[in-house]
Symmetry: C2
Subunit: 384 residues, 2 copies
């Protein structure tokens, strides 16, 4: 496998972008990444997206965005893996460069969830779950996560407040990220008073519906086109799956896909969890954070929430997570989130994360999940 | 790049499958391919599909189908490129094995267009075109092809009947393919009397709405697990794009993406068009066949239809096309068609095409198009 590096990153702010369409968001992010890499073309484009058909009445995003970029002719395709579409697009792009067929490719994750042409966001998101056995029976995606959280609280004797540190950390970090959607700190009192969305999940346990696009330029490491000084190496790119339906899992409190993709990633990178300096995990709902920490090997079973106490997950903590706000506060434009995570990890490893800079960040891990972690895509990045 | 071979193929018949769901079709095809390859597992799964969200209210097909196959744990994702989704999935899978990360992967193209949970097939297919500048103004996908055909007839002084050989050839070949949807020959009289769907495109110029799934098992060529005797080598796998909107093309009668992906494929395989023994092209509408023959280098501009005269494209002709019925008569389950083409090319190169066997078939080309050829994915396969 050829070594692959990230030589450019770009992003739009995560917002309700009433003035920008899906294609405009994607183009802005890719052009920013190309400018960052000082390149004017790529050989191929991988687009991570889940709901463009449902909400914007547009499929065929590969050709569309290549066209809008003025790069008509290049290879292009859309990658979908529900909320893990962004990470999966990075994985596919990584393999494309690692194969040797493409020298340099762009990845863009994009989702347009406001200003709809059609459909419903809630019904759309339910397509991440099992349509015949879950969604058709009326359960929403947040409902599935709520059942998982309720069971987790029961088994491990926790209360809602035990999950507060994840939301508080994400919001605190988002304050200094100009691209984050919610740049306001949240207090414990605000967290405990928040209304329930799907009991026990409250508003402050939930990532928002929003628009955004994030992009990367991937290149063979052997030819970095003058970007050697700032290039970030992809040390691992792995993907794994679990049963789509939550009720099919022998152990519904263990994220098997997270475990498998993490183990494969550590092996590929030749490191252990102890070597990770920061972890951009998939905090779409608070409950996913401790469960990810456990399955990825950072905490014992049922002890993920303890890791978050006393600032353990803050920028200066033992394992900084959601360092630029995470899905919770930077925002979660579904198919884009997995690419935002990698963009932010690159910012950290370059030492360009401003007030959110993790000191001496050398190794970063990102994890993009689809559905209730039925897909898990893990990347490990290494700086200089 | 590692050499990649196809060691197993599988398919369901193309039908209106009122008794089989999308997931059941996909599982049947993959299990057949795994049985054909004598393997019981794969490292990753690539699913080509366009309309599962629109028509079946189901996304996240990668995890879903891996799960239904009993292969939970493997990497999986869905690839979308409109009607070129199947070819694009083969391309992504090829790169995955060529990279060295995966030893053996499955590709399945699947589309379920009857027995809908939701939506409209015509509105769904229009998402292959430019939503803002084409579909939103009311033009259907067949309407775009009709405009292209009308212009082609005007420029090159042709009449509808000149396109008949493409339909007649496809239907004649489908008679002997048990997996084809329309196993009936069509006469010139029937062709000329057919009702218009979108003038000048008639019913017999059009591929049908249908259900089906086709699958491949791809392996490193260096370790074929006992399949060396029947393995078919992937000599080229390429993809290219054109403007998404037809009106944006400087020359609307030239399929630039077809040209680019073909040129790249010939170079990668180290051959010329003269070396191709059969060509599974994307005859979703008759007009696409001559235009593909021209852009792929088999005919002069405007002369594609002449190639079809006097049996030139029949099984025993100079360049056999649509040898198992093509999209026209085998059927065109959108995201599956590009995989069906490769399955059929493998049948030919193995000498297992029965009454449709192309004599001495050694080199086959397949081409999967998305939209009005805004995406073109070309594969060249080599037998023993």
């Amino acid at each position: 496998m050829r070594d692959v590096s990230i030589i450019g990153v770009g992003q739009t702010p995560v917002r309700e972008h009433w003035e920008l369409s899906l294609r405009e968001l994607a183009v802005q992010a890719v052009l920013a990444a190309m400018q960052d890499a000082h390149v004017e073309d790529v050989d191929a484009l991988y687009v991570g997206n889940m709901l463009s058909g449902e909400l914007t009445r547009q499929e065929h995003l590969g050709a569309l965005i290549a066209d809008q970029l003025g790069l008509t002719g290049i290879a292009a395709m859309k990658i979908e893996a529900a909320c893990g579409a962004g990470g999966s697009a990075v994985h596919a792009a990584h393999l494309a460069v690692a194969s040797g067929q493409y020298r340099r490719v762009a990845v863009v994750g994009v989702e347009k969830m406001t200003d709809l042409w059609n459909g419903s966001v809630t019904a759309g998101l339910a397509m991440a779950a099992d349509g015949e056995y879950e969604a058709a029976n009326g359960i929403s995606f947040v409902g599935l996560n709520a059942m998982m959280m309720r069971r987790y609280m029961y088994e491990y004797d926790l209360v809602e407040e035990d999950f507060a540190p994840f939301a508080l950390n994400a919001h605190a970090n988002a304050v200094h990220n100009p691209n984050a959607m919610f740049r306001k700190a949240v207090t414990l009192e605000q967290f405990t008073k928040a209304k329930k969305v799907a009991d026990p999940i409250s508003l402050f346990d939930s990532s928002p519906i929003c628009d955004g696009a994030a992009a990367l330029i991937l290149s063979r490491s052997e030819n970095l086109n003058g970007n050697a000084a700032r290039a970030i190496s992809i040390a691992a790119s792995t993907s794994a799956t679990d049963t789509l339906a939550l009720h099919d899992r022998q152990d519904p409190l263990w994220l098997r896909a997270v475990e498998l993709s993490s183990i494969k990633a550590y092996a590929q990178a030749g490191i252990t969890p102890q070597d990770i300096d920061l972890f951009e995990l998939h905090d779409a709902f608070s409950i996913v954070a401790p469960m990810s920490l456990e399955a990825a090997g950072f905490a014992q079973r049922g002890a993920g929430a303890y890791l978050a106490r006393d600032g353990g997950i803050s920028i200066h903590g033992k394992l900084p997570i959601s360092t630029m706000g995470g899905l919770k506060a930077r925002g979660h434009p579904i198919g884009a989130s997995g690419v935002y995570q990698v963009v932010e990890a690159v910012q950290q490893l370059r030492g360009e994360a401003g007030k959110n800079q993790v000191p001496n960040a050398r190794v970063a891990m990102t994890q993009s999940l689809g559905g209730v972690a039925a897909t898990a895509v893990t990347h490990i990045l290494k700086g200089k």
